[in-house]
Symmetry: C2
Subunit: 495 residues, 2 copies
């Protein structure tokens, strides 16, 4: 990977001075164009060897382009709010919205490489990180982001010279730390690990660009030209035909007989009011105790509610919150995304509501909207909802590995029961129970929704975050099943 | 304040059971109405004596209304991200958007009261806090928020009984801590401080409602009814005539002669290219050193740029960022507010960009938009921009007290110079320099803007955050004046 970046590339001052003014003007224009279009964001990663000019490159890009539309993020040790959430949370926070450029400096590559070189992790861990990174970047790219990854490289000899030169100059001496020299001693180790990582994360949608960092002018011109090229190419695609990620999704067939997960449920399950009252008290009490368990202070609980209209999500949520201290939970009703949310990758608006430890987040509808309503109503492309299954599994995997307990409930009612509830609601005095035209429209797509739900469960019911199907024709039965399941899940997790 | 809340109020079970169902239904309806209208947010503060049912009240409101549209916030010890910003930052973060209810539990009243009772602060500090709170709540109310403040009270005797009862029951024992008893020993002290605070913060727009907390049913019914009443009253006003804060602003007259701050500037000030090059290097070097000074790690720098179109804000910003490490600063271009920002009080969108310590935020246009473009173009009411001067002074005061260095630059050019620059820009190849129709339109209001600028400087140039007027007909002169001023401000602050 690094051979061409150890050739001693150089640009003389005359050539540099001649080329820079046009390059800067072109970069500014390209930045302006993408900022006007607001169709995609540019994510620039800057990584590489110490002393190879990473910081200089970031500063240079800021000075060549309009810094008002560049968001530069470095990642010093995480804050406590960051430490209490999955590793990737801080990077999600730093993603630029469409129309902007984000320069991420010391990003999701830093920890995996450094930890492996320092032998804090094993090869298997590194390979897992690589896989996760590849899936993450694929998702960003599929969501429309233009990703440009620069690796600033120096040969061992060049790095020694560079560190010495920096130390010699009183203005730059502060930049060389003891850690830099310790890492230099491990140059070969770092090189091997980096090469492994680069080789396995250089993908078609986000290839690495290795830049020799020894000569400042060569480095600057190279980075500037590659960036300009990438911006122009993407802009051209957007203008000519609109950018679309490639999708090669096989169609999802419905079951070849008429049996499916939903219509196999026993919808006659019910419970008496008397038993309900008794059980409600019992399980609410247990849930309250569990969320006050000292062990829960290091965990978090994420509850997801999905279900047909009028299946009783709101009522079930209130039976859970009734057991909790209001200071401990947030309920998040998912409606149409806001403008700021629409300018980000799909999952961004859920990441922002991930709870800190010791907290509960209850989602009334969720990230599954993409494979349910968006799929059925055609709000997104087939490729988008097809890839969502894998993205969602990744997302939940990160939550669980960080200590979250994820409970997902699908509330099922029969078409007849829904009709009955719609009619009841139309008569009721509570305004919040208004039936909208949309509710009636959704009903007509009952079979499409059922098909989507079965696919969703097949593809996203995992061992770490299984779907719980709730037969909800009878509200008492449904609410107790939900409360009991939640208690059991918490019990298992905290034991 | 507390007399009526020590009478031993009680509601019998029969009355309670009879009244609650209708109250709950009405509350739900009222919540639904305000949620549909999305014209204002409801901010409920819950404070009071330990054991008086604060937590129970919060939980009750969540169970009576739809918890999906209530955001409950408690305020445990601040996170490091919160500690590095002004005291009020965490409360701004927790404000509900229009259409939602926010319950703030342990809010901006807690620290001032507790600290005074424990003698960590003096009366003068408390009175300063009271003033700040009053101004803050007045601002919230003027911005449209409906503020409801509940103080849950217990007589000394009732508190003793209550704490003992909680301790006796094994399910509630955990809730009584040693601190609770220590505070109980200081009941009289707390009572005196609280009474002082309540008396001085019970305003027309945000009066305290003291609720006797001894009887659970009385407490619940009282809180529920008051809340319902408040919601209905406000909803009625919105429907009948639209809610408007009262404004009794005296008009701001222009100067009675034609001299003003702007036309008194010496617009012939200029600098040679040679001196500029020398000074640029000198001051950029100094600025770089200053922002790397160890003392700066405990401070932050907030730079505000305002000025006529084409006055050279962008170029000046690039001369500052050119001296800084891109990892250390963010530039924030202020354009039209997003949907999420429009649902919050005016200053919210600036609070969200307040830097942590050791960081620099550069605002390209700022919170002064309200008293400039919004005033001149009539985007807000006279009352709104009139009160903005005081609100902005409060805001900057909080920034400075938290250690921020606030530098505000107004870039002035003459009308002739602007015309020249517009014409040059129309010829230039850089697309980012496009002149829009709006630019030409703004030019026609030159005198109105000048008047607004002079008022702005008179009313918001404070000792802690003075305006620096920059004669910007000559770009070299302007840029050096800005850099030098910044260096001097930093020098003073860090010395």
């Amino acid at each position: 990977m690094f051979e061409s970046a150890e050739l001693g590339h150089k640009i003389d001052k005359a050539t540099y001075d001649k080329q820079v003014p046009k390059l800067r003007a072109d970069l500014l224009d390209a930045q302006f164009d993408m900022g006007e279009l607001k169709k995609y964001q540019v994510i620039i990663l800057v990584n590489g060897v110490n002393g190879a000019g990473k910081g200089e490159t970031v500063n240079l890009l800021n000075s060549w382009m309009d810094p008002r539309h560049i968001q530069t993020h470095a990642f010093p040790p995480p804050s406590d709010e960051e430490r209490e959430r999955p590793f990737m949370w801080r990077f999600w926070r730093a993603l630029p919205p469409k129309g902007k450029i984000g320069i991420l400096f010391g990003n999701w590559y830093t920890d995996p490489i450094v930890n492996r070189a320092l032998k804090k992790t094993k090869n298997a861990d590194l390979d897992q990180s690589i896989e996760e990174i590849n899936r993450f970047e694929k998702m960003l790219s599929d969501e429309g982001a233009l990703i440009i990854k620069f690796w600033m490289h120096l040969s061992k000899d060049a790095q020694r010279k560079r560190l010495k030169a920096l130390e010699k100059d009183k203005d730059t001496r502060w930049r060389v730390t003891r850690t830099d020299w310790t890492h230099f001693e491990m140059y070969d180790k770092f090189r091997a690990v980096s090469e492994h990582v680069l080789r396995h994360t250089s993908t078609g949608h986000a290839p690495w660009i290795v830049v020799e960092g020894a000569d400042e002018r060569y480095r600057a011109l190279t980075v500037g030209r590659i960036l300009l090229e990438a911006l122009r190419k993407r802009q051209k695609i957007e203008q000519e035909r609109g950018w679309k990620p490639r999708s090669a999704a096989a169609p999802l067939p419905p079951a070849t007989d008429s049996r499916d997960l939903i219509n196999s449920l026993d919808m006659s399950l019910a419970m008496s009011k008397k038993k309900f009252d008794k059980d409600l008290e019992k399980y609410q009490g247990r849930l309250n105790l569990l969320t006050r368990d000292p062990k829960f202070r290091e965990r978090s609980l994420i509850v997801v509610f999905e279900g047909s209209d009028a299946a009783g999500k709101g009522g079930s949520i209130r039976r859970i919150t009734g057991a909790l201290d209001a200071r401990q939970y947030q309920t998040i009703p998912i409606a149409a995304p806001t403008e700021e949310e629409r300018a980000q990758p799909y999952l961004w608006r859920f990441w922002r509501h991930i709870p800190r430890v010791g907290r509960v987040s209850i989602f009334d509808r969720s990230w599954y909207g993409r494979v349910l309503v968006e799929r059925v109503e055609g709000y997104c492309q087939e490729g988008d909802w097809m890839r969502a299954y894998a993205e969602i599994n990744d997302f939940e995997d990160q939550l669980v590995r960080n200590g979250a307990i994820v409970a997902k409930f699908w509330l099922t009612i029969t078409a007849e029961e829904q009709l009955k509830r719609f009619k009841e609601r139309e008569k009721t005095r509570f305004k919040r129970f208004k039936i909208t035209d949309e509710d009636w429209r959704n009903r007509k797509k009952w079979d499409d929704y059922e098909h989507a739900v079965c696919d969703m469960i097949d593809r996203s019911s995992t061992e770490i975050a299984p779907w719980i199907l709730v037969e909800a024709n009878d509200k008492y039965y449904a609410r107790i099943k939900i409360l009991k399941t939640l208690c059991d899940r918490l019990d298992d997790a905290l034991r």
